[in-house]
């Protein structure tokens, strides 16, 4: 007979039962799970196509998005919260492939440095140059004769910057019966709308809403705002401006007029100047709008008096 050992219940704190969620790391999906999801997605796609009366063979992702938006209309502002049906590859986060084999030995020889790709790159480049001087010597490399031999190698580390100024649409240059060129443009700032006509061969008169700009904008700052586009391009006494503006306050109106003037100037100015204007910030519409007042607070940011007790 086996001696009965006294049994004692061991009480363990409940905090030990709960899983330590943070330590588990990102959720891991097995490959079979993902394969199953892919299958379900394909089947669901065909069902959806049948429901919508379309051909299941030529049902693209755009069609899926359209149908889901139609079947499940949602008024939520956050686009990522709306119902979505996409391929599981896009939804489930990609798992980094395991970097060591079954015995625990890492594949890459530089794994234990922590930055295996970086040091491996250094190793690659080390034959030619040290990384600290990489950029300098890259350029030295470029300035040397016969650099075209290494062009492919160098282009791997170079990124093409796109010139974005071509994205602005320039207002068309129209002609008066007298042959004087003029252009029309709009501008907006913080609920103030402005629309101006910029006429060539003028003497620098500016009329806003039928009044002289000196009367309409007694504040110096607003007149400076009007002056800036013309000063930047260097065509100060050349144009006559006739504008109408409404809404918001005087600073916003001045900002709206400034944007309208810069846009109208685009048709009188060369390509390089357009790029310079864009970089000076003359062509960007100011996105700042009045912030909404939140419930539970006095205003947009101001809170009610904080009482400790």
């Amino acid at each position: 007979m086996v001696p009965q050992l006294p049994l004692r219940q061991i009480y363990v704190a409940s905090s030990l039962w709960k899983k330590n969620l943070a330590a588990a790391g990102p959720q891991k999906f097995t490959q079979e799970f993902i394969d199953k999801q892919v299958e379900e997605f394909e089947v669901g796609k065909r069902h959806l196509a049948n429901m919508m009366g379309e051909d299941p063979e030529t049902f693209t992702q755009e069609d899926i998005d359209r149908s889901i938006a139609y079947l499940f209309p949602s008024g939520l502002f956050e686009k990522r919260a709306r119902p979505v049906m996409k391929h599981p590859e896009e939804i489930f986060p990609k798992q980094t492939a395991i970097q060591w084999d079954a015995e625990g030995r890492p594949f890459h020889f530089l794994f234990y440095t922590g930055k295996q790709s970086y040091y491996s790159l250094l190793h690659d480049v080390y034959e030619k140059i040290l990384y600290m001087r990489l950029i300098q010597l890259m350029e030295l490399l470029l300035s040397m004769p016969y650099c075209s031999l290494e062009e492919e190698f160098i282009l791997k580390f170079r990124k093409q910057l796109e010139v974005q100024s071509s994205k602005y649409e320039i207002p068309a240059l129209q002609y008066d019966p007298q042959g004087v060129a003029f252009s029309v443009a709009d501008g907006r700032r913080k609920s103030a709308k402005a629309s101006i006509t910029l006429r060539d061969s003028g003497s620098g008169n500016i009329t806003i809403n039928g009044r002289n700009y000196l009367h309409y904008f007694p504040v110096l700052q607003n007149r400076e705002q009007l002056m800036f586009p013309l000063l930047f391009v260097g065509m100060m006494g050349r144009f006559d401006i006739e504008g109408s503006v409404e809404g918001s306050g005087h600073s916003a109106q001045a900002g709206a007029l400034r944007l309208a003037i810069s846009r109208a100037l685009l048709s009188f100015v060369s390509e390089g100047e357009v790029e310079k204007m864009r970089q000076a910030g003359l062509l960007t519409a100011d996105p700042r709008i009045r912030e909404r007042k939140k419930p539970g607070q006095e205003g947009a940011r101001k809170k009610f008096t904080w009482k400790k007790r």
Binding site: G204, H215, R223, M227, L231, G237
Partner: protein, 364 residues
């Protein structure tokens, strides 16, 4: 002591403003310091007074409106009732300065000057409003009246002993001024006894009106120049209240009443120079600058017929002159303001308005 600049008229021409003509338009001329002290204790615009203090001299630009006024003054017939000249224009274009220029011409010709630097000051912000001693329905302003009498005394010292009163004035039971007393005594009476100073002002104006066209030659002959800045205050509204909290009308103020009598052309031997002003006016919109708008119906009817003289912003030449003057006096410190670009910026930002240009240059 300083070498004369190319656009400041050389000293020989300063004293006689008679020699100013269209050829000098756009050039600066210097007001002699003695004249400034005597003629303009409070007459010049405050910012110009600051400029005089800074530059240690008062330089005025010769401009077409002032030249026009002076030419009319030269050609007028002084045996007939006086002509009324009204300087009008946008804010900050130089009405007060043109008035002062013309007044300086009159002074250098030896006229008697009656100068009200700003009629708006009599119509608002009055601390003491006493019921009049002579008439029950009127109100006196002792402080303003005595201040004006003091200024009048400083300006017209040489006339005070020459002119005599034509009738007896009784101020109180014990005080009176006899007939035949010199004008100086009348003024002293007003300065010393504040209570009756407004009535004294009325008496002085009446005496001047009676005697201006009197003797055409001889010792007592003089021409009278009445200069009022902000003349639209006489017919507008006041911002003063009576004791029962109702608004005061301009007629109920002694000073205004007497000044209105001066504005009528029922005397002879002088000229009436006036300038409108929106900046000090009470209850008038900022965009109003024409005589009909600022004077109102009543004022327009009273002032008619008058010779309107319009004052406008600087033209190219005048702006150039002003810019060079500031450069010459090292007032424009910023290096960029000396370049072409800086000048274009100044033209744009001020739209060639004299006062705005002055304020702009003040912080450059």
């Amino acid at each position: 002591s300083r070498p004369p600049s190319h656009n400041i008229v050389p000293t020989s021409l300063i004293l006689c403003a008679t020699y100013h003509s269209e050829g000098h338009s756009g050039q600066y001329y210097t007001l002699p310091p003695t004249h400034i002290q005597k003629l303009f204790p409070y007459g010049l615009p405050p910012r110009f007074q600051l400029q005089i203090k800074t530059f240690n001299e008062g330089c005025v630009m010769v401009r077409p409106p002032a030249l026009e006024l002076i030419s009319y003054l030269k050609r007028a017939d002084y045996s007939k009732p006086p002509l009324r000249y009204v300087l009008y224009g946008d804010i900050g274009t130089g009405k007060t300065m043109s008035l002062c220029h013309a007044l300086h011409y009159c002074y250098s010709q030896g006229w008697l000057i009656v100068h009200v630097p700003d009629a708006h000051l009599w119509v608002k912000n009055c601390k003491e409003l006493l019921p009049s001693s002579s008439r029950p329905s009127r109100f006196d302003q002792p402080i303003q009246a005595s201040q004006w009498l003091k200024n009048f005394k400083i300006t017209n010292e040489r006339f005070l002993s020459k002119l005599k009163t034509t009738q007896r004035y009784v101020w109180t039971k014990r005080e009176s001024t006899e007939k035949g007393q010199p004008l100086g005594e009348l003024i002293d009476q007003g300065v010393n006894r504040m209570k009756s100073s407004s009535d004294v002002v009325g008496a002085v104006l009446r005496e001047l009106r009676l005697q201006a066209g009197g003797a055409t030659e001889g010792e007592g002959a003089f021409k009278l120049a009445v200069a009022v800045d902000g003349v639209n205050a006489l017919w507008g509204k006041t911002s003063l209240k009576k004791e029962d909290r109702t608004m005061c009308e301009p007629e109920e103020l002694t000073l205004i009443h007497n000044l209105r009598k001066m504005m009528k052309n029922n005397w002879s031997g002088g000229a009436i120079l006036t300038a409108l002003s929106q900046t000090g006016s009470v209850f008038k919109p900022r965009s109003a600058y024409l005589p009909s708008e600022l004077l109102g119906e009543e004022g327009f009817d009273n002032m008619e017929p008058f010779v309107p003289v319009s004052v406008s912003n600087y033209n190219e030449k005048e702006f150039e002159s002003c810019y060079l003057y500031y450069l010459d006096r090292n007032w424009l410190q910023h290096p960029h303001s000396r370049s072409e670009e800086g000048k274009k910026e100044l033209i744009f930002l001020s739209n060639k308005n004299p006062s705005i240009l002055e304020r702009l240059c003040a912080f450059l």
